[in-house]
Symmetry: C2
Subunit: 359 residues, 2 copies
């Protein structure tokens, strides 16, 4: 089993990566004893892994009477304050106290909303991340960014709140649909693009193995992604500096997601196209080589990901959405761009006309 | 001007105490420059102090176009997720970014909800506390406890999130209704009861001056209260230990407030009665002297505060509400009780029958 440590300013916690983690009772022993446990999952994941996990937690020493499963509807469109409120209602109606443990069993939506519920419930309870999609395993489950969406912007309401542990079970990827799997690869490729050129080359050489979901390639790609993410979070938990680099492609992606309505594109698909537009902008503003733009686009295409938006999408709307991005400061438009593959930078005062030109 | 420093684990910040702070432009200079500012207040306070503060902030170097006032309805019944959402809507519709400053201008409800909005908006923006009631000046504006209520419990959803400064202007108390003023005195008296016997004696000697709102007595009482609170917060920001002592009387008080419906009693009135019941319980469980119970009750009565609940209030309901208190851990009922005036302790495993006997 691989074990990484996230050593953030507010809290230090382990990430475990292996197959079969959902049934390894000893992993959970210290986490569940003497406290109420509420597993929060969704209607897709619950029938696949809900009972297995509940049984493991009971065998780990948890009190079966205090282990509940709360099932959310599945989809980004439910990552809202309204859904959050249903979680609070459930926890209060069942008298979960401040010593309780929430367990996020699902993809990024479940993880983000459960983490935010944990951050706010009785001013903060512990939570455990058990990500069940590749995207959440390599990205959202690590680093403590929690949030819900608002009609006027993605992740606009949330908190930095670290989990007490992250359990990445490789086996759960067997049930992941192809599009969702590819969506996760977009974030894996992002780590190569922004800070790990060697990993980017490895991905170019191993993309076929990853597409076939070969376990050893997958374990390596996930570990290296989490390692990259942990290194960044350790340096900058609350995104006052270098953590912003993780948003490479995301300013475009969030605008695409809002304009298309959440759910049309998967998050990783939007990020994939967003990274290509950001690379084109990088060519203009940061002298990124044309060859690097093409290598990025090629790798994303080989991973079965979209690399451009439909010509019919309203450019003015996209620019408006991008103006509201959280990375902007006091009216200045900030973007994450690439100097070369493996080397991202924050660029301030990007002009609207420059963004418009890459559309 | 008196200046205290709160030196909490997550952040250090000043508390200023003086008359005329709402118009001292130099105090705000570093806080408002180069950022959007949203003053959040309520319909009662806005006409009294909204324009004055806005003008001061503009003179301090803030951009008048970026200083907005958002007015909430007045009352504890509006301290809800629904009201919080109206704040988020306003901030997003007006493109307030992550660098913005929220200013809480009002009592405890405005402070708690604004602080929680600041904790969550774009995963955290700065906020400034300008408390306009005695209760919020000596209690809720200091220490970073933010929250909204839930139908099933007070302050059940919130965060520990410190302000960047607290401005306590004594002049605003001139417009405070008598009942609200007395309600604030309940929390002042609490500091004496739980950890400052000398201050308790001073309060007994000066209660008439305080009732007359004499400025020098008031300035001393507020400063000493904030000093007590700051000392506790410095040691235990997130209430894992001694901070719980601040909740003396509050487990009873919250139950009274829920059962009476929020708003029937002011918070300080509920705390006043709660402290007396907690004192009676302390006599049984911690050998608090009968004389100390009477001194506490006398002082509260002299401050024009209630010391008991109506005989018609349903005791079973009250006990049920108390069982859901945040201080309880894994089913054990914890209470803050007094060994003597000026010395509070946490008592675990208090039995329901013992609480029932003091009603």
């Amino acid at each position: 089993m691989n074990k990484l440590i996230v050593d953030a300013a507010s809290q230090s916690y382990p990430i475990y990566i292996d197959s079969g983690l959902l049934t390894q009772t000893n992993l959970y022993r210290n986490l569940v004893q003497n406290r109420g446990v509420c597993i929060i999952t969704n209607e897709t994941v619950a029938p696949l892994y809900g009972s297995i996990l509940k049984e493991t937690l009971a065998k780990s020493g948890g009190n079966l009477n205090q282990i509940e499963i709360f099932v959310l509807p599945d989809g980004e469109q439910y990552k809202t304050l309204a859904t959050l409120e249903t979680i609070f209602n459930h926890l209060l109606q069942n008298q979960f106290d401040r010593n309780s443990l929430l367990v996020a069993l699902g993809g990024g939506v479940v993880g983000d909303i459960t983490g935010f519920a944990a951050a706010c419930y009785q001013r903060g309870v512990d939570y455990l991340q058990i990500p069940t999609t590749l995207l959440s395993q390599v990205d959202s489950s690590v680093g403590g960014k929690t949030a819900v969406n608002h009609a006027l912007g993605k992740n606009m309401i949330g908190a930095f709140y670290q989990p007490c542990a992250v359990m990445i079970d490789l086996d759960v990827l067997n049930t992941l649909p192809d599009r969702e799997y590819a969506s996760g690869l977009a974030e894996v490729i992002k780590y190569g693009a922004i800070r790990d050129a060697e990993f980017f080359c490895w991905l170019e050489a191993n993309i076929d193995a990853l597409n076939r979901r070969e376990q050893s390639a997958l374990a390596y790609a996930i570990e290296r992604s989490c390692q990259n993410k942990a290194e960044i979070v350790n340096q900058d938990e609350t995104e006052t500096g270098i953590r912003a680099l993780l948003n490479y492609g995301h300013t475009f992606a969030h605008a695409f997601e809002i304009e298309l309505q959440y759910g049309t594109w998967l998050h990783g698909e939007a990020v994939s196209a967003g990274m290509v537009y950001a690379a084109k902008l990088s060519r203009q503003l940061c002298q990124l080589a044309e060859d690097d733009v093409e290598r990025l686009e090629d790798l994303l295409l080989k991973a079965h990901l979209p690399t451009k938006i439909d010509a019919s999408l309203n450019r003015d709307h996209l620019l408006h959405h991008m103006a509201l991005d959280k990375k902007n400061q006091s009216g200045s438009r900030r973007m994450i761009l690439l100097k070369r593959l493996g080397d991202a930078v924050v660029v301030k005062d990007v002009r609207e006309s420059e963004i418009r030109s890459v559309f």
